[in-house]
Amino acid sequence: MNFTFNEDDIAFQDAAHRVCADVLKTHAARYDETREFCQESLRALGELGFWSMNLPSEYGGVDISSIGMSLAVEEIAYHCAATCSSLTAHFLATDSVLIGATEAQRQALLPLCASGEKLGAFALTEPGAGSNPAEMRTRAVRTADGWHLTGTKHYITNGAFADFLVVYAKTDPDQGHRGISAFLVDRHTPGISFSSPEKTLGLRGSHIYEIDFDCVLPDDALMGEEGAGFATAMEVLDRGRVEVAAMSVGIARAAYDASIAWSKERIIAGKPLGRHQGIQWMLAEMHAQLEAARLVTYKAADARDSGQRFSLESAVAKLVASEAAAKVTDAAVQVHGGYGYISDLPVERYYRDARITRIFEGTSEIQKIIIGRAITA
């Protein structure tokens, strides 16, 4: 294991910090309060090239290392976790194209995704298929007119705001997960209907939708090879888990920084909160948890760049970082006392925003299954 920050990584972190501290930070509380979609922040990141971080330069990307990308994702989550969630959902869609699509499909779509012109959504989960994607019921049947897509997806981040969706559907229900294929679906295809955005606990500026499909897609909507969808999705999620880990670190760091500042400012019994040993212990645990989360995240990012399989590292990073984010944001509310419970300060938002990191892109329990299988194989 050997990971260091090169000058590109630092430059990207710095660039992310600048725009996030100036732009994202100013909208974050409003998005949370009004449940307005994080459009403005997401577009600002797009114009500066942040939508391209997961792509190589031949498709309009910037060839940044996964560690540099993790640093930038952490910075984005630190200032607005909702925007971070919508951005990483876009990465799930474009990673799908990068991994599973034909060269012609990649060339046609990815440069527009990199430049911030086309926003993607990743449609895998269904009401009856979350941790068990192989049991999905969405069907795509080849007809004379093209692919007839029917079914329902839910919890789809970006949904109605996306320009295109990568929809995973069964093309051969008898083949189990090998019968799953992916489709590139234009958002404006007739026969797609979006629910209103779900009312979520956190990440309220990043909308998730239930989507019903009863539509006909052109023949070339099939992404890559028939039957390869499940393998693509699993590889995409391996990559995405590193980003969820980085996002968790960002939220946890925001809660930690707020707590440290508060511990110096708030006076209890004649001395700053942070001079009381009981609070120091809480802050010390937060610090240690944040540090551990950060290191497993960097290790997974480094593994992702190595070209080897990194399912184990990304599952460990996702598990450790998301659980740390939950603990650190909970402790941050506790350090702030009553002030941590009201929305005048961002701490209660961090607490709510962190909660989903233990659930999406594979729950903590799923990560333990992945880790358990890998270490006992």
Binding site: D8, I10, A11, D14, R18, E47, L48, G49, I64
Partner: protein, 250 residues
């Protein structure tokens, strides 16, 4: 027209400054460094002049150890065409910096030299003025607006009590004030492209400038720590406190 922009590496403006325990200097260990904000405004102005077709090339220069190349790269990512690193010790006197810049100007022959009005670390506000004097050209300091019309440069300056507009002949030296423009954010692809832009390293010897210290830093003291304020419940209590505790009214 070629524009030369001189930039300085300073402590990031967000960092809380710590003084070394022996008061010998500001503590720079493990501190985030950045492009001086006024220098960034100068770079932005030069890039805008190029985008407007007024300038043909933007060259950015910085003086200091190897690390200043980070800030040169930032300037390149913001749109400068090439960079010159004058490899010299950190924290030189303004006069030595001005002499080194004069030598760079002699080699590069820019039509316009842009600098920040001052650096946020030492707040000297001297380099631009000294450089103009050494070059024997007009200067427009504290610029809040700039336009080039043929061989003339129109510059609006922020002065005590208002604005002053001057017309200068080129070549000239301009120092940027806060309101000259709002610098753009670097785009990620431009950060990567900046690596491929030329960055030359020069030494004071090559520039035939003797680096000597004209001044010595004796002591750095942090400002007195502020005591927390108090809240008063009424105007009469406020008056009483001002009279008896603060003793600022009688």
């Amino acid at each position: 027209m070629k524009i030369l922009v001189a930039v300085k590496r300073v402590i990031d403006y967000n960092v809380k400054i710590r003084v070394k325990p022996d008061h010998s200097d500001v503590d720079l260990s493990n501190v985030k460094m950045a492009l001086n904000p006024f220098c960034e405004i100068a770079v932005e102005e030069a890039v805008r002049l190029k985008e407007a077709g007024v300038a043909s090339e933007v060259v950015v220069a910085s003086i200091g150890p190897q690390a200043v190349q980070e800030q040169l790269r930032t300037a390149l990512a913001l749109g400068a065409d090439r960079a010159i690193h004058v490899d010299a010790p950190a924290a030189l006197d303004a006069l030595v910096i001005a002499k080194l810049l004069q030598a760079v100007v002699a080699a590069e022959r820019p039509g316009l030299v842009l600098l920040g009005k001052q650096a946020i670390d030492s707040d000297n506000n001297q380099t631009g003025q000294m450089l103009a004097a050494l070059m024997g050209v007009p200067q427009g300091t504290f610029a809040s607006q700039l336009s080039v019309e043929g061989d003339a440069l129109r510059v609006t300056r922020e002065i005590d009590g208002g604005l002053e507009t001057l017309e200068l002949t080129l070549p000239a030296v301009i120092t940027a004030d806060l309101r000259l423009n709002e610098p753009r954010y670097a785009k990620l692809p431009d950060i990567m492209k900046a690596k491929k832009k030329p960055l030359d390293r020069w030494t004071p010897e090559e520039l035939e400038v003797v680096v000597t210290a004209h001044q010595r830093l004796l002591k750095v003291e942090p400002p007195a720590e502020r005591q927390g304020g108090i809240k008063v419940s009424s105007v009469s209590e406020l008056v009483e406190r001002l009279r008896n505790d603060a003793k600022v009214i009688s």
